[in-house]
């Protein structure tokens, strides 16, 4: 049993490595992951809505969200379109291993994107990250959860534009409802309830906690647990959708 799981994990890493080589680490992907969040930030800042203490966490989370979901959407659908997905399907792997491999590639991509944004942005804005380790853990859980979210869209879609449309449908409401650029507390109570169903809320909250607090807080633990739960549910959902779509 343990051997089977280890074997599955190793093969998932091979898929992730292949995806990174084939699809991910190309300049346009990094640009897209950074471009939209920065544009949104500028739009908000021009309207005078930005609290400088909030932007570091919000912008980092957005960069991971846009970077990972964009790339995941393309990676699975493109493989289905070109027929290479069949190569994975006929190999001795479970569908979950394939999904996990795809998510792992997005995970690493998200980590790199976040590193490009969070620490330089903190330095430039004069923000001190009180607990960098907690920040890195929050980024890691965020990357995994958003990668899984991207795979849901891409598992469902039949072609790339459809996957991108679905990704936008999932991520744009989150941008405005998760307290990315403004504190969640200023939202009407109904929207605060809605925000609790969105993974971006927990990502932003966990990152803010790691920036503001030197020690682990109760909120931080709940946020990480929520991101982990989102990851598991979204990976399982992706596997189920793919199974239905291909069989």
């Amino acid at each position: 049993m343990v051997k089977a799981w280890a074997d599955s994990l190793i093969k998932a890493f091979y898929i992730a490595k292949k995806d990174a080589k084939v699809y991910y680490f190309k300049a346009p992907n990094f640009t897209y992951g950074l471009l939209i969040p920065v544009s949104l930030y500028l739009a908000f800042s021009m309207a005078g809505e930005i609290n400088s203490k909030l932007i570091v966490a919000g912008l980092s989370s957005l960069v991971i969200l846009f970077g990972t979901t964009s790339i995941e959407a393309v990676a699975v659908v493109l493989e289905k379109q070109t027929g290479t997905f069949e190569r994975l399907l006929v190999a001795p792997l479970s569908l979950f291993t394939i999904v996990l491999g795809k998510a792992l590639a997005g995970f690493f991509f998200g980590l790199i994107l976040a590193a490009v944004v969070l620490f330089p942005l903190a330095a430039v804005s004069g923000t001190v990250v009180m607990n960098p380790l907690l920040a890195v853990i929050a980024i890691a859980f965020t990357s995994m959860a958003f990668s899984a979210l991207g795979i849901v869209a891409s598992a469902y879609a039949k072609w790339v534009p459809e996957a991108q449309m679905l990704s936008n449908f999932l991520r744009f409401p989150m941008v405005f409802l998760s307290g990315t650029f403004t504190a969640l507390e200023v939202f009407p109570s109904q929207l605060q309830v809605v925000a609790r169903f969105l993974p971006l809320t927990y990502s932003v909250e966990a990152l803010r906690s790691s920036i503001a607090e030197p020690a682990v807080t109760y909120t931080y633990i709940l946020d990480i647990a929520a991101l982990a739960l989102f990851t598991i549910v979204l990976l399982a959902l992706s596997t189920k959708i793919l199974e239905k779509r291909i069989t």
Partner: protein, 342 residues
């Protein structure tokens, strides 16, 4: 070289050695469409088994079920002794699949494609590079191993796809239209390779548009039509089953409007025009030939050539699938188009 690099990775135990693939009451339904209707057959260990059928007959759906890509609605499939649904990973470990369309990663090199395939199949690290080198040499791609696979010709991509399917020394190889769209040289190479692999003990499950190819390569053939298996036998027996109709092939110095008149001749059951020739299905050639001579004389025609033919596997295929000559011609044309695209 092939025998040196080959040691078949297939059988589960001695008892199951004789049957490589067993299909029982297999059915696949998509909504209201019954794609595969309760089919059963077995493929023996070490044989080349042809799976023929017109477009839309259920070939692809069957292969997808046999290779674990699609779950059957009902029925069972065992491959190398393992149930494809319940023990799918073990079954897949013993199988190589070459799909109809080459599916290598264009962005990766030939070398990286093979190494990645080896990783997916759990080939030991110290074996991967050795296997990749052997296969690239065997398929004449070693010199291009670092080149981006996307820049390869169609024939080279096909060879690389087959090499990737062989990386883990599968005991059973599924070849879906392996020579479709390829030039003559690549097609011949793949046919020879199929024979060599089989000689070395690999069981081959082959689907092809080229019925002549199946006739050359397969020890047994199954014909599927409208989701049902209509025949499973060796090619010679299938040909013999249509021998009740003998065939006379005749050409005249003109071809216009003769089909209908020839069909009305005594003893002629069917007429098919093939290029400038007419193939007449007759009860007896000895009765038909004098009639044809009379027919030519009465109509002021000259017989350019006249020949008697043995039924081909294609004749058996047409008879068993009930395809009209026009539909059969379209099927063949699609195969030829694929060739010209290459």
């Amino acid at each position: 070289m092939l025998s040196r690099i080959w040691s078949v990775n297939c059988v589960r135990n001695e008892h199951e050695m004789e049957i490589a693939i067993a299909v029982y009451d297999l059915t696949k339904q998509y909504g209201k469409i019954l794609a595969v209707d309760n089919i059963s057959f077995t493929v023996n260990q070490g044989e080349v088994f042809g799976f023929l059928g017109p477009n839309g007959a259920g070939k692809t759906t069957t292969i997808r079920m046999l290779t674990g890509q699609t779950k059957p609605t009902s029925g069972t499939v065992t491959v190398a002794g393992y149930d494809v649904v319940r023990e799918s990973i073990k079954a897949k470990e013993r199988v190589g699949v070459v799909p109809e369309v080459s599916n290598i990663y264009d962005e990766m090199s030939a070398w990286d494609n093979l190494v990645f395939a080896a990783q997916l199949y759990g080939v030991a690290k110290n074996e991967r590079e050795k296997r990749a080198k052997e296969l690239l040499e065997l398929f004449g791609l070693y010199e291009r191993r670092t080149g981006r696979a996307g820049n390869f010709s169609k024939g080279m991509k096909r060879r690389l796809t087959i090499a990737a399917a062989l990386i883990h020394k599968p005991g059973i190889l599924f070849l879906d239209e392996p020579t479709s769209g390829l030039d003559v040289q690549s097609s011949r190479m793949i046919r020879n390779l199929t024979k060599d692999l089989n000689k070395n003990g690999t069981t081959i499950f082959l689907t092809t548009h080229y019925i002549e190819e199946a006739d050359q390569l397969c020890q047994r053939v199954a014909i599927i039509n409208k989701g049902k298996i209509v025949a499973v036998d060796n090619p010679e027996k299938l040909k013999a089953s249509v021998e009740k109709h003998q065939i006379v092939e005749v050409s005249f110095d003109q071809t216009q409007n003769l089909e209908h008149e020839l069909a009305s001749l005594k003893y002629v059951s069917k007429v098919v025009q093939v290029g400038d020739k007419f193939r007449l299905h007759v009860r007896s050639t000895s009765e038909a030939v004098p009639l044809l001579v009379d027919f030519a004389r009465e109509n002021g025609l000259k017989i350019v050539s006249i020949d008697t033919l043995n039924p081909s596997l294609e004749d058996a295929f047409v008879e068993m699938t009930g395809l009209s000559p026009e539909v059969m011609a379209t099927e063949k044309e699609q195969g030829k188009k694929a060739v010209s695209l290459g």
